[in-house]
């Protein structure tokens, strides 16, 4: 991918926009480049499908996972482990933040505003144009404004992540991408990448501008009826 990398990358967005899968896959892509990478779960909104649930798997893959430990892992409380600060202060470490959905989830970020390395972080808004409140330009802009207000930080780019779960096809992604692109133009922000399930990337590639990176996704969150081993 021809992405400009920064030491800290923060994925924010509306509830169910796909931040967790993106954060995990993006962190793994950094790790594959040989960069020491931590993925930081600051999702205090979603009670179920969040990074901490696949911690062991990610650690086996070489990532450091920062999330509440022990019995606090599944607690319904906004607990933020002190190790987050360690990532922010370590100039040799890359940090990928998975933030909770909507403005409610983004509020947490404000707490780290004074600690973010000046000019050395991305704050990306993940957008799925198939979700109820971000189906058009206006919805996306309103979501972005709510999130920026809550975290007191400026979004620096949009991630085009339109999908319908298992039934996503090329058309779903391209139609959604046009909506995201339209919102980005109105906001004068770049679309920094398109994300797509790994098996869709090849057919998608020719339909997107050459310079636009596509992040292939391997999905980590599984429903209990998908688990046969």
């Amino acid at each position: 991918m021809s992405l400009s990398l920064k030491r800290i990358t923060i994925f924010t967005g509306h509830l169910g926009s796909g931040k967790t899968e993106l954060a995990i896959n993006f962190a793994l892509s950094l790790k594959e480049r040989g960069l020491p990478t931590s993925v930081i779960d600051v999702d205090v909104v979603n009670p179920y499908f969040r990074t901490r649930l696949v911690r062991e798997k990610l650690e086996q893959l070489g990532l450091t996972v920062i999330c509440p430990r022990g019995e606090w892992m599944r607690a319904d409380i906004p607990a933020l482990p002190p190790a987050i600060r360690g990532v922010l202060e370590d100039p040799g470490r890359y940090g990928v933040f998975d933030v909770g959905g909507d403005e409610v989830g983004a509020t947490v970020l404000g707490r780290f505003k004074p600690l973010l390395p000046a000019g050395d972080y991305h704050l990306w808004l993940v957008v799925n144009a198939c979700r109820p409140f971000t189906r058009d330009k206006e919805g996306i802009i309103s979501m972005l404004e709510g999130i920026e207000k809550a975290c007191r930080l400026q979004v620096t780019g949009l991630v085009s992540n339109t999908n319908l779960g298992a039934v996503t096809d090329e058309e779903t992604i391209l139609t959604g991408h046009r909506v995201v692109q339209e919102a980005a133009s109105a906001l004068n922000l770049p679309v920094v990448m398109v994300a797509a399930r790994r098996e869709l990337v090849e057919q998608l590639r020719p339909h997107l501008p050459r310079e636009l990176p596509v992040l292939p996704l391997n999905l980590f969150m599984q429903a209990p009826w998908q688990v046969f081993s």
Binding site: P47, Y48, C130, R131, P132, L164, A223, V227, F228
Partner: protein, 353 residues
Amino acid sequence: MAKILMKGNEAIGEGAVRAGCRYFFGYPITPQSELPHYLAKRLPEVGGLYLQSESETAAINMVYGAAGAGARVMTSSSGPGISLMQEGISYLAGAELPCVIVNMIRGGPGLGNIAPAQSDYFQATRGGGHGDYRVIVLAPASVQEIIDLMQVAFDLADRYRNPVMVAGDGILGQMMEPVELGEEKEIEIPPRPWAATGRMGGDKKLISSLYIVPEELEQHNLKLAQKYTLIIEQEQRWEEYQLAGAKLVLVAFGTAARICKAVVDRCREEGLAVGLIRPITLWPFPQKAFAPVINEAEGFLVVEMSLGQMVEDVRLTVNGRRPVYFYGRCGGMLPVAADVVREVKKLYGGEGQ
């Protein structure tokens, strides 16, 4: 119309709006908080009212008031909150008020945890409130089915002037699936001549469950009983999956049924004659589903996310004619497909011994 990706909790909200519900009273609790969150945004768009009450006890009594005034109204919670609402649900049933109550079940008893469970089956189908009453209970198993069943829930509530509960679990509330919403239709809510909307020179309209004279309360109870009998006759709903020639019939609802469906597919691939009965109404329990399979089936395996509650209804239905086995996880733990396959194989090998 294009498909959209929705969380189960959001789908309950959207399904309710599309069913003509314009009033929601509730109090947030994990794992259903996305539902009040969604309706707080959505109801004002359609001229409805979303109100966060001070407690679940207040919410259910607001539902009583709104239903008594003739509104299509809903509340939602998870186990602990639904427990608090039981007094109100008994009053609603006694006063014959239509309403929809959503329970996205979490691990219990007590405060328990926020993980998914189905252990409120007894509470939903037997009633945690007092008196001889019944609540119709619907159990969707996918986000699309949630949308469709919300309309059914409100219609049944009206048809029988009775509370209807939609029972899901945390997984169903939290997971996202594509849904087809279809055209948004103008819903004509059936007339409610009994509603307390003012006498207007006519007869007195009284919403009450108070019958001081025992003879009168007995008559009221018998009238309710007739209604419940009619519901049992008319409203049993279920889904059959791969029942043809099934030697072992799985019985599961909601998320457990999703797991069992995947298990049936896997077992059929391996040549095991396994099928599934998925109750969609938990009350009335779909006894009719069992008659056609009871002769051919050698046994039933009930899978629940509890220590075994629906299994009692299956045993009452099968009535000793076949063995009824049980497999469950509890406390917010989920049976995964692999666990159920193992149970099936254990039984399959052992049957007839």
